[in-house]
């Protein structure tokens, strides 16, 4: 239960690699923050700076107004869940969970009470005498969670904790982690490269790219008004369609021909146009404003279908539920007004 302030934090490795550039944000009490980005974007480095496993080159991290730059990991009142769980292989589940408390010089009785309580919360009670090697992946994951919870820290740090699990278990654990966090009300920072995890779990998402924060916002904000081309294409599956185009006399025109419905914009010149795959409709007949579409193939996912084709000569994906208009019948495509994103061609920044 704490707030965290990150003020212009930089991480520069001795070899000159600038891993985190001017990270600057505030985490509210009890908030679940997800740091997301492609591998090598600095998200793990940032998390490890929270933990104290990585030195902060410049800037400050403060947990509850206490600057922790030079505080030992153990003294920061944090707990961390690792990707490979990092359980102690020679200790039983009970001892794994108790170790941190033991080092904190808690009494045997207090440790017993705390561990039993958390074990019950996570359904680990029957497993307390087992060693990690006798547990399944999901169980190990829960033990790692338990080890973090039992210390009742101010801040939870998760470093891609679900990426070693199979798909089914992962979606299950996603919900479980989120529910636990909400029940405990502990401020959490969660690192992942999986945008589905980011969207489903976060109160707020921090999107990182090449060490820089691209955007901070709620999942809805990130999805509905991405701040840059990077965010637009990184968040969402399938990714947003990006087309080349430009404003001519106040109307938005595709380079390959065709007018896109969009509110007028003062300047003329080239822009990047982003359209979410689910914000368009395929149709067989031409209607006013519809653009010609060339069908290529369909990926059938059961509930939904992803129709691949060309729009004005560029690749375009349509996300549809409709049975009727797929295949070569899909000759036209109409775009829902108000769901077109426009970005600067050079900087990739959003233009409103």
């Amino acid at each position: 239960m704490a707030q965290v302030t990150i003020s212009s934090v930089n991480k520069i490795y001795p070899n000159g690699f600038h891993a985190v550039k001017d990270a600057d944000f505030h985490i509210k009490d009890g908030e679940f923050i997800v740091l997301v980005g492609p591998s090598g974007c600095g998200k793990s480095t940032l998390l490890r700076m929270f933990a104290g496993l990585e030195d902060i080159s410049t800037g400050e991290i403060a947990i509850d107004d206490r600057v922790v730059n030079d505080v030992d990991p153990a003294q920061r009142d944090i707990a961390m869940v690792f990707q490979n769980y990092a359980l102690y292989p020679h200790m039983t589940v009970y001892k794994n969970m108790a170790y941190g408390l033991k080092r904190a010089k808690k009494s045997k009785e207090d440790i017993e009470i705390a561990v039993q309580k958390v074990a019950k919360m996570l359904d680990l009670t029957p497993l307390l005498d087992r060693k990690p090697s006798q547990l399944s992946g999901g169980q190990r994951q829960r033990v790692a969670m338990g080890r973090a919870i039992v210390r009742s820290p101010k801040l939870f740090l998760f470093d891609e904790p679900l990426s070693n699990l199979d798909a089914k278990l992962r979606s299950q654990m996603r919900i479980e982690v989120r529910r636990l966090q909400r029940d405990l009300g502990v401020t959490s920072v969660y690192v992942t490269h999986d945008q589905v995890e980011a969207m489903t779990m976060a109160d707020r998402i921090v999107v990182l790219n090449a060490g820089k924060i691209e955007q901070i916002g709620t999942p809805a904000q990130i999805y509905q008004s991405p701040a840059s081309v990077f965010v637009a294409t990184f968040m969402g599956a399938p990714p947003m369609n990006m087309l080349e185009g430009g404003f001519k006399d106040g109307t938005l025109t595709l380079s390959g021909g065709g007018v896109i419905p969009h509110h007028s914009h003062g300047a003329n010149g080239p822009v990047s146009i982003g359209i979410r795959p689910e914000k368009v409709t395929l149709q067989a007949e031409e209607t006013p404003g519809a653009l010609p579409f060339t069908y290529e193939f369909t990926e059938d996912l059961g509930a939904v279908k992803l129709v691949h084709g060309l729009l004005g000569g560029e690749r375009f994906i349509v996300h549809t539920h409709e049975e009727a208009i797929i295949g070569d019948d899909a000759k036209f495509l109409s775009i829902d007004g108000g769901s077109v994103h426009v970005f600067d061609v050079n900087t990739g920044q959003r233009i409103d």
């Binding site: 003294q75 690792f82 102690y88 020679h90 941190g100 904190a104």
Partner: protein
């Protein structure tokens, strides 16, 4: 109909082919083990005969009648010039040397490897390679200076003098370094967050995790220490400090007048000297194999 069912029930009997390369492999293996075992078996058989038979007939190929006498004499009769040391005493000395040697080597090399792997000090890699190159300088090369040092410290004929100069181990350091490097980084980080300092991390986590590795190295080093010959020979002049390996030779040297050397006793002592290392290897075999191949950490 019946024809078909019988045909299915009884597939054509095929003569098992003799796989000649497997026969060949086995012949090689059997020859190899005989080659290794034969001297031991012959020693064992000969050790059950009286001295006269051995002296006149040489190596014996059957079981004699003096087994009890020879082994009793080897273990419990005082011998040597000073008549103060018996087999049990020498066995104790050997045990102390073997255990001290093995435990000392493990402790020292674990600590050295811990420093090299987990602490970022200047020239750590360089330090490691320096340690590693000492492999090229075995005891025999530095035996005179070592003797000089031990002698000037007044450590001749002491257990300390017997063990300490042999204790530094490049091999051990190397094995533990490789092992520590394979322990995931996250284990260390989890321990740091759990509040374990360098000492607690070492004793609470690293040492227990290395158990099988320690066992494997213990076996190798114990056998190696037990079989030390040159250094104890040089170091010990007091018969009370003799090790078994060294004592065997001593028996054969007692050649006074027309006496026949105690061949039977010497053979018995050789067998006795062989037993503890063999026992250790048999008992810890499982751990030994695990330590060398196990990957789970």
């Amino acid at each position: 109909m019946t024809d078909i069912t019988t045909a299915i029930a009884q597939p054509p009997v095929r003569r098992r082919k003799i796989r000649w390369n497997r026969v060949f492999d086995h012949v090689i293996l059997i020859l190899g083990s005989m080659f290794m075992l034969l001297p031991v078996v012959l020693t064992l058989l000969t050790s059950t005969w009286d001295n006269v038979t051995i002296h006149t007939g040489g190596i014996q190929y059957s079981i004699g009648e003096d087994a009890f006498r020879n082994y009793q004499k080897a273990l419990f009769e005082k011998s040597g010039f000073s008549q103060v040391v018996d087999g049990m005493k020498m066995m104790t000395n050997s045990l102390i040397l073997g255990l001290g040697f093995a435990i000392g080597k493990i402790v020292i090399s674990m600590m050295a490897a811990y420093a090299i792997v987990y602490f970022r000090f200047r020239f750590a890699t360089f330090a490691f390679w320096i340690v590693f190159t000492t492999l090229l300088l075995p005891l025999e090369v530095r035996i005179l200076p070592s003797y000089e040092v031990v002698q000037s410290l007044g450590l001749l004929n002491t257990y300390t003098g017997l063990i300490v100069p042999l204790i530094a181990s490049a091999t051990g350091t190397f094995y533990f370094r490789q092992f520590f490097k394979s322990v995931p980084e996250e284990t260390l980080e989890a321990a740091r967050i759990d509040g374990a300092g360098p000492i607690h991390f070492f004793f609470d986590i690293l040492v227990p995790v290395s158990q099988t590795m320690i066992a494997a190295i213990f076996i190798i080093m114990f056998v190696y220490g037990w079989n030390q010959y040159l250094w104890p020979t040089l170091m010990t002049t007091d018969e009370n400090m003799f090790t078994l390996v060294r004592g065997i030779k001593q028996i054969m040297q007692v050649w006074i007048g027309a006496n026949i050397p105690d061949y039977g006793v010497a053979m018995a002592l050789a067998i006795i000297a062989m037993t503890p290392p063999v026992l250790i290897v048999i008992l810890f075999q499982n751990w030994f194999v695990k330590g060398l191949v196990e990957s789970e950490k």
